[in-house]
Amino acid sequence: MSSLADGNTMMNEQRREFIKKTALGVFAGLGAASGLVPAFSLEKTALPVWDEKPVPGKIRWGMLIDTRKCKEGCQQCVAACHHEHNVPAFKNRREEIRWSWKNSYKNVFPTADNAAASKEIQNRTFLSLCNHCADSPCTQICPTGATFKRWDGIVEIDYHRCVGCRFCMPACPYGSLSFNWQDPRTAIVDPVTVYPTRQQGVVEKCNFCSDRLIKGLQPACVEVCPEQALVFGDLNDPASDIRVLLESNVTMQRKPELGTKPSVFYII
């Protein structure tokens, strides 16, 4: 008897949902027909700049952060990054999701000898993000191959494969990964339709804007920086801007002694 009742409620719920969604669809259809709403507003088919299958290892994307230009209190890069990728804004520190964030010298370069660092440097904030290491511990530890090294040097998480074991989180020496303890869709402030969200139970992190690179755009943080403090480019191309700057400046990587070979460089 109870199972029958359950079945009935389930059917009713299903029917109710169907009617609700149909009404929504009809309403939207009307909007589209009257020309008020564009007929199609999903993730748009983006034409890739590289239409051929890429050659593995040909490109190695990297970033150079000139922290001398970085303005105190400016959070535009972080805001743009999180907005572009539907990163949820959980207030609780334990559930916080972050792709990029600003942190102090002491926390970003904990193993650098900061005894002699000037007061100004100690008080400066440094943009931290996934370092897309050439020798990345997170990809080596991932049991399902969800975190993997792409053909262009980007360390990417394949959310289709992530089972949420979170091995990668302690493996990363930079704390670049966040776990979705809850459904992230509930906490996205201003969702964009051109990039998917994540689901509960997967780990996420910065993807070096691989979604923008295929459209021939620079990463969101680089584009939005008012001081042009961020330079993005191919580390394998000797003529690229980033290589020229790397050769003409003294730069630092985070925890270089671990041998992870980060692709993110800092000018202090």
């Binding site: 149909t22 999903l42 088919t45 890739p48 051929e52």
Partner: protein, 130 residues
């Protein structure tokens, strides 16, 4: 009394619909005006006006096709699908839904067959679009 209540409800519904339609109108018009479409690098590469395979094949095998696309795009960066007749498509859910733009296109069949694909856990479902 009953009739009055009903007509009042209907009136509110109509007002709500009108307001939301106007809101949508202004939202989208402004959006279009502010962001002019940039010319893309190679416009001729992808042709998404035709189906990638016959209807019968897609009906039975679209899940394998989509899984294959997902795999080759994410893992190998191979983003262009070449159909048997030589036409080229971007491997994207957007390519399918650009033509199959009926909001219930996926839902009707999946609901009937009682399948619950996980695509829409992350990707934007046609049901959720404005």
């Amino acid at each position: 009394m009953e009739v009055m209540m009903k007509s009042r409800k209907l009136l509110w519904l109509v007002i709500f619909a009108a307001i939301s339609l106007f809101a949508a109108f202004y939202l989208f018009r402004n959006g279009e005006a502010e962001t002019p479409q940039k010319p893309l690098a190679r416009v001729s590469v992808v042709d998404s006006t035709k189906c990638i395979a016959p209807k019968e094949f897609m009906r039975a095998n679209h899940m394998q096709v989509l899984q294959g696309w997902e795999r080759s795009v994410v893992r190998d960066g191979d983003r262009v699908h070449i159909a048997s007749n030589g036409s080229r498509f971007q491997k994207s859910l957007g390519t399918c839904l650009g033509c199959h733009n009926n909001r219930l296109f996926c839902y009707n069949c999946h609901s009937y067959a009682n399948v619950k694909p996980k695509c829409w856990n992350c990707h934007l479902s046609p049901m959720e679009t404005p």
